[in-house]
Symmetry: C2
């Protein structure tokens, strides 16, 4: 652990310098673009959401939902991740901070009969859901933003494209039972307790 | 993310200094104690294993096993974590490095009927299994070490004590089907692929 933290610290310094240099030599960014950039590295100035990478190895894991029955619409293993800072903030006041990102990775569920029981686990990638907390209603004209969040769906055949065209029809319906918890099923996330 | 890393970097320096100071003013540690300390912060000089903390927030998540049936001996949600460095090493050569720690946190399984299917998720803490990779056979006389690993079980009523008295009877039997993968059920861990 110490080795990893040491290396991260060493890497942080050049990135910090780079950010200052880019900021000073590239004033061509519009004010709006800078605002969006400051808000989230996964959101452009129009509210277009991109899929984070490295979350399985580097982010905090919140919890898993397993829907074993292949006949159920949500069948699969749903692993949920967020940034480590978002966990720290949530534990303080029970709210996801502005810019918090939740990634739900959904994979096929496989079940093996073991001596100790029938064990279900994740296999092939199905798709990813992404939510980005927006406390300021930044993109009122973008149909994938509203109710305090940006909403996205990414499929493995084109992970560069948000496949949702409207969060109200493509995302929100399944979150209605969690409305009182800011649309998040926190009861399945022991890391937040 | 940047904030957390920055804070970690700041904290690392005093810890590094402290280690140097302790090393120079406290030569009373035996050579054997120093050796065990260098091997793992979770293992003392006799091979006594302690339960890591903070792994849900700070370590890498490997995957989950869900055994939904309450009549099955292993019923529950089994979340598995390791150090971020161990994931990097495993991805290089398909082996857990010396000192790698695997923590399996087992919680009661809860199932809710949702509009999209019956969703299983983790609730109350049951216990933790811990395995620590030992490529050098460091503790031949300790009954919780062998077959390349240290083995431990911690219960919530006394998480300071390894409840396993012998890995061969308390731990190994359930791992026999995974013997060819160095006793680890890697097929359930997408983070390693």
């Amino acid at each position: 652990m110490k080795g990893a933290r040491g290396r991260r610290a060493v890497i942080m310094i050049p990135i910090g310098l780079l950010a200052i240099l880019v900021g000073s030599v590239a004033p061509a960014f519009s004010r709006e673009e800078k605002k969006a950039e400051a808000f989230s590295p996964y959101v452009d100035s129009t509210g277009k959401i991109s899929l984070p990478t490295g979350f399985r190895e580097q982010w905090a894991y919140l919890g898993t939902w397993v829907v074993p029955d292949p006949k159920d619409p949500a069948t699969g293993v749903h692993d949920v991740f967020t940034q480590p800072d978002s966990v720290i903030a949530y534990k303080k006041d029970g709210r996801f901070p502005d810019g918090a990102v939740l990634v739900k990775e959904i994979r096929n569920v496989q079940a093996d009969q073991m001596t100790t029981g029938k064990a279900h686990y994740a296999q092939k990638m199905v798709h990813w859901f992404v939510m980005i907390k927006d406390s300021k209603g930044r993109f009122p004209d973008n149909p994938n933003w509203g109710d305090g969040w940006g909403w996205a769906l990414f499929k493995p055949d084109d992970p560069s494209k948000n496949a949702s065209t409207s969060y109200q029809s493509d995302c929100l319906p399944c979150h209605v039972p969690a409305k009182s918890d800011d649309w998040i099923y926190v009861r399945g996330y022991p890391t937040l307790r």
